[in-house]
């Protein structure tokens, strides 16, 4: 493995450390397929998905794991891909919004359509991934548990009530 000082620090740290970057070939398990990427190992998964694999459903919002727009599943756990460096993934399975279901028919996606949740829609892939991971672990969450799980995902359009309603419907239907 290469020496990489950057990855020792939070990716958006104000302290700049010049990196000695060596590109590395990595095999990533994404949406059930193995993808080979040739990138600087300090690259966050978010940018590997968006720039190198053209999986742009995962969104950039803040880059510091504060808004949840970049949420993916890492072995089924909701994870902020903007601060997850590609070198940390190892053999774990990554699922993105594109891989959540074949035809948009995951119970969470169906509930989202049923309630017609989105306004601008930019944050919704992240919201859906967080919700799907929640229901996977806790199929019947209480209101408080939903609020707790979803609190890391910002929606400036203010669709929170519909998100909560859709999570409940998905919970009933899954």
């Amino acid at each position: 493995m290469c020496l990489n000082f950057v990855s020792l620090f939070p990716s958006n740290s104000d302290i700049f450390m010049p990196s000695i970057t060596i590109m590395a070939k990595l095999n990533l398990k994404i949406n059930g397929e193995v993808k080979e990427v040739d990138v600087d190992p300090s690259t966050p998964v978010l940018w590997v998905l968006r720039d190198h694999l053209n999986l742009v459903g995962t969104k950039y919002g803040c880059g510091i794991a504060q808004c949840g727009a970049c949420t993916v599943h890492l072995d089924g756990t909701a994870t902020r891909s903007c601060m997850l460096t590609v070198s940390m993934v190892g053999n774990s399975e990554i699922t993105t919004i594109e891989g959540l279901s074949e035809n948009g028919d995951h119970p969470v996606q169906k509930a989202w359509l049923d309630v017609d949740v989105p306004q601008c829609g930019y944050c919704q892939a992240g919201q859906i991934m967080t919700a799907a991971a929640l229901l996977d672990k806790n199929p019947n969450p209480s209101d408080e548990e939903i609020e707790m799980a979803m609190n890391g995902n910002i929606c400036r359009c203010g669709t929170y009530l519909r998100i909560k309603k859709a999570v409940k419907i998905a919970s009933e239907n899954s």
């Binding site: 950057v6 958006n12 700049f16 010049p18 990196s19 970057t21 990138v39 600087d40 300090s42 690259t43 966050p44 940018w47 968006r50 720039d51 190198h52 742009v56 459903g57 995962t58 969104k59 950039y60 919002g61 803040c62 880059g63 510091i64 504060q66 808004c67 727009a69 993105t96 919004i97 594109e98 959540l100 279901s101 996606q109 989202w112 359509l113 017609d116 989105p118 306004q119 601008c120 829609g121 930019y122 944050c123 919704q124 892939a125 209101d143 609020e147 979803m150 609190n151 890391g152 995902n153 910002i154 400036r156 359009c157 203010g158 669709t159 929170y160 009530l161 519909r162 998100i163 909560k164």
Partner: protein
């Protein structure tokens, strides 16, 4: 039926009909741009092989499918669904047979292709109806020719034409080819409002499936072969300008192609209203991938120098004004001190009714309060970005923006590329709220592409997005009210201003409802740039005015809703001579009465505290009752009951969603929204310090009730936003006995 001349938007009909009359307009690349609607039984239907364009807004396939182009950008207000619904209703087709695509920017074909001021539906309404109605008329004319019967005997319904006398009938698809050759009618009949079959029904977001499956809908998702990534580095503080860049370390970093300075506007260019740019010169880094450019961005060293004070001429649609930009590094505490002292000097009198000085002098009670609010950052979830490919004297641009018509002109002026060689494709906006009206990043993207001779995508980091300016201004208002011995409001005085804009609407309530009225405004120059932010000015004035009136009602010993209704009654029954008010007092009173009824005002349980507020803006009326309970000494919003009068509601469930959003967004900004400055530098640059409302702080329940009437639609994106600030403040007062005069409200909290 209402007969109407096809004057509005006629250019569209004529231009495109002449195109169509040359033959069939075939279904070109629509598979790429046009996505079937959610829940549409499209799979069951063969997609059309041929399309017949009846006008710029719609084409009909030989099998009866209809493609409707939505002219305005979509930012989450759902116009991409509701605007085509209006066309489809007048065309008289089944909504399930309609497919929607985003129209290209075409100022020849469409009118007012921009969003802002909650005006898309209000100003689009008649033109969209005519687009549908004139196409329906052309279909009838076609059938009349084929069947040799009078056109006015032909009826339409659900995409079918029929003639009772002859028993003949045909689908729109069967007549589309012929209809495309018909003359555009000089005059068309619009439906009576009680004949609407689609308008007024809840229809799902046409992009719903694409959103929940993560399809590339947004500008930031744009990708083209050979595309490079560009980012900017701007000076760290307002009052500074870029002097030089030291790229020695950066040039050799992996994946970095070039580093240079870009000058956004030329020195002699007269900037228009939407050409605001904080830092006219910025450093640019171009590279192969986003992460590589982000790394280089951290390493780039720039040298800055103080700006000099300047005055430049700006042009607002033909009216020019002088904009003064002072030098210096500004601080938030200085802004507040300056605003306090500026208030005492008084402002420019913008309206004076009666004799306010005398009324205040002889009043039994005078109440005086001051209110302040900070700068706010827009914080669209999709950071600013744009794709550009400029080559061979042509510019292709793809991305999210609110005012493409204007930005296109700006780009043409900057690059010399004629308008006809500029192609702007509008993507879905990951939030706008006013910020995307100021599309300097489109110009930057084009200049970067031109220099690189390659397609590029410019992306602002979240930090760039938050610290690059164009904020909601900071404001300060002093309000005074005079009551007579019987507790009637006899005089009202508003003295308000801001850095650097004044939020005064002198003709709004309570103007016209009180005999003696004085409105004055002022501004303080600043080098911090500002611009439209969801319900500009109203987003502050509502809070000051409606918090104040709540307090005045209390001093007068009156119920806050009754007190407002009393004032509105006066405006309705004894209108003042010789003055013009912006609002209709009867509609204003209407939403207050509706919210009073629906919230069961006065019947709340013992642990719930309630606040009420109402406001008129963007041609619509909203009143809200907000319920809170105190938990651990902090307010928890339980429920909001909202009454809205925005005329005809085109898509009720989507309208409810938008109203809910305005309420949630408003509560968030009221509680937490604040951007402060130290030595010109924004003190917050990302969501770790800039607090946004999250699910836990959102109300548990929101009820939205629309006033039912047949008035043409007015705004909805903004009107529910301003009154929620004071409704919350007034509820918190009921719970705590503490009046809130400063935003964000959280600041008033002992933590």
């Amino acid at each position: 039926m209402t007969s109407i001349k096809t004057k509005i938007g006629r250019r569209a009909f004529i231009k495109n009909t002449s195109l169509a009359s040359g033959g069939l307009v075939l279904g070109f690349s629509w598979l790429n741009s046009c996505k079937p609607k959610v829940g549409l039984d499209m799979a069951a239907k063969e997609l059309s092989k041929e399309w017949f364009e009846l006008n710029g807004y719609l084409k009909i396939g030989e099998n009866g499918l209809v493609t409707i182009l939505s002219p305005n950008p979509e930012a989450g207000q759902n116009v991409k669904t509701s605007m085509p619904m209006i066309i489809a209703d007048e065309l008289d087709v089944d909504w399930k047979d309609v497919m929607v695509e985003q129209a290209p920017l075409d100022t020849g074909a469409f009118t007012r292709q921009f969003i802002g001021g909650s005006q898309a539906l209000r100003q689009g309404w008649t033109g969209l109806r005519m687009a549908g109605a004139s196409a329906r008329q052309m279909l009838k004319e076609a059938a009349a020719q084929v069947w040799k019967v009078p056109a006015d005997e032909i009826k339409t319904s659900g995409g079918m034409l029929s003639h009772e006398g002859s028993g003949k009938s045909a689908t729109y698809g069967e007549m589309a080819s012929m209809a495309a050759t018909m003359q555009v009618p000089e005059e068309v009949q619009l439906k009576e409002k009680n004949e609407f079959t689609i308008i007024g029904t809840s229809q799902k977001n046409v992009d719903g499936m694409n959103i929940v499956t993560g399809k590339p809908l947004f500008g930031i998702d744009t990708h083209q072969e050979g595309m490079l990534i560009a980012m900017i580095v701007h000076p760290p503080a307002f009052g500074l300008q870029l002097k030089s860049i030291d790229d020695s370390e950066v040039r050799s970093m992996p994946g970095i192609r070039d580093v240079f300075k870009v000058k956004v506007f030329n020195d002699d260019y007269v900037k228009t209203f939407f050409d605001t740019r904080t830092y006219n010169e910025v450093a640019v880094i171009v590279g192969d991938s986003t992460w590589q450019v982000m790394q280089a961005k951290k390493a780039l060293k720039i040298e800055c120098e103080p700006i000099q004070s300047s005055t430049e001429t700006r042009d607002r649609f033909g009216t020019t004004w002088e904009q003064h930009t002072p030098k210096g590094l500004e601080n938030t505490e200085d802004h507040y001190a300056q605003m306090r002292s500026r208030t005492e000097k008084g402002g420019e009198v913008r309206r004076k009714d009666g004799n306010p000085e005398q009324a205040f002098a002889k009043a039994a009670k005078v109440i005086e309060r001051t209110y302040t609010a900070p700068f706010l950052a827009h914080n669209c979830m999709e950071p600013m970005n744009f794709f550009a490919n400029v080559k061979d004297g042509k510019a292709e641009l793809i991305g999210p923006l609110q005012k493409p018509e204007f930005t296109e002109q700006t780009l043409s002026a900057r690059t010399g590329i004629p308008l006809e060689n500029i192609d702007i494709k509008m993507t879905r906006l990951g939030g706008g709220y006013g910020r995307r009206s100021y599309a300097h990043w489109l110009v930057e993207a084009a200049l970067i592409s031109q220099r690189m001779e390659a397609p590029i995508k410019l992306i602002y980091t979240r930090e760039d997005d938050m610290t690059d300016g164009i904020y909601r201004p900071t404001y300060h208002a002093k309000l005074r009210a005079a009551l007579d011995a019987d507790n009637n409001l006899i005089a009202y005085h508003v003295n308000v201003g801001g850095v650097p804009e004044c939020p005064l609407y002198e003709n709004r309530f309570p103007a016209g409802a009180v005999d003696h009225y004085l409105a004055e405004g002022w501004t303080i120059d600043s080098n911090i740039t500002v611009g439209s932010f969801r319900a500009p000015s109203s987003n502050f004035m509502a809070c000051a005015e409606q918090s104040f009136l709540d307090e005045v009602a209390e001093v007068a010993g009156k119920d806050p809703i009754d007190f407002r209704l009393e004032l509105l009654d006066r405006a309705i029954n004894k209108p003042m001579e010789g003055v013009t008010n912006d609002y209709d007092p009867a509609r204003y009173a209407g939403v207050l009465k509706l919210v009073k009824e629906k919230s069961e005002w006065g019947n709340q349980d013992a642990k719930t505290s309630r606040g009420v507020a109402a406001y008129f803006c963007h041609n619509s009326y909203a009143a809200q009752v907000l319920d809170i309970v105190m938990e651990d000494g902090k307010p928890k919003v339980q429920k909001v009951t909202c009454a809205v009068d925005c005329g005809i509601v085109v898509n009720p469930d989507a309208a409810t969603n938008l109203a809910e959003g305005g309420i949630v967004d408003g509560i968030g900004n009221a509680l937490f929204g604040e951007l402060t400055f130290k030595e010109g530098m924004p003190t917050k640059k990302n969501f770790d310090t800039y607090q946004m409302i999250r699910m836990q702080e959102a109300p548990k329940e929101i009820e939205v009730h629309f006033v039912k009437n047949n008035i043409d639609p007015t705004g909805l994106g903004e009107p529910t936003f301003p009154p929620i600030f004071p409704a919350l403040a007034n509820a918190i007062y009921q719970a705590t006995g503490k009046r809130l005069y400063e935003q964000p409200f959280l600041k008033n909290w002992a933590i």
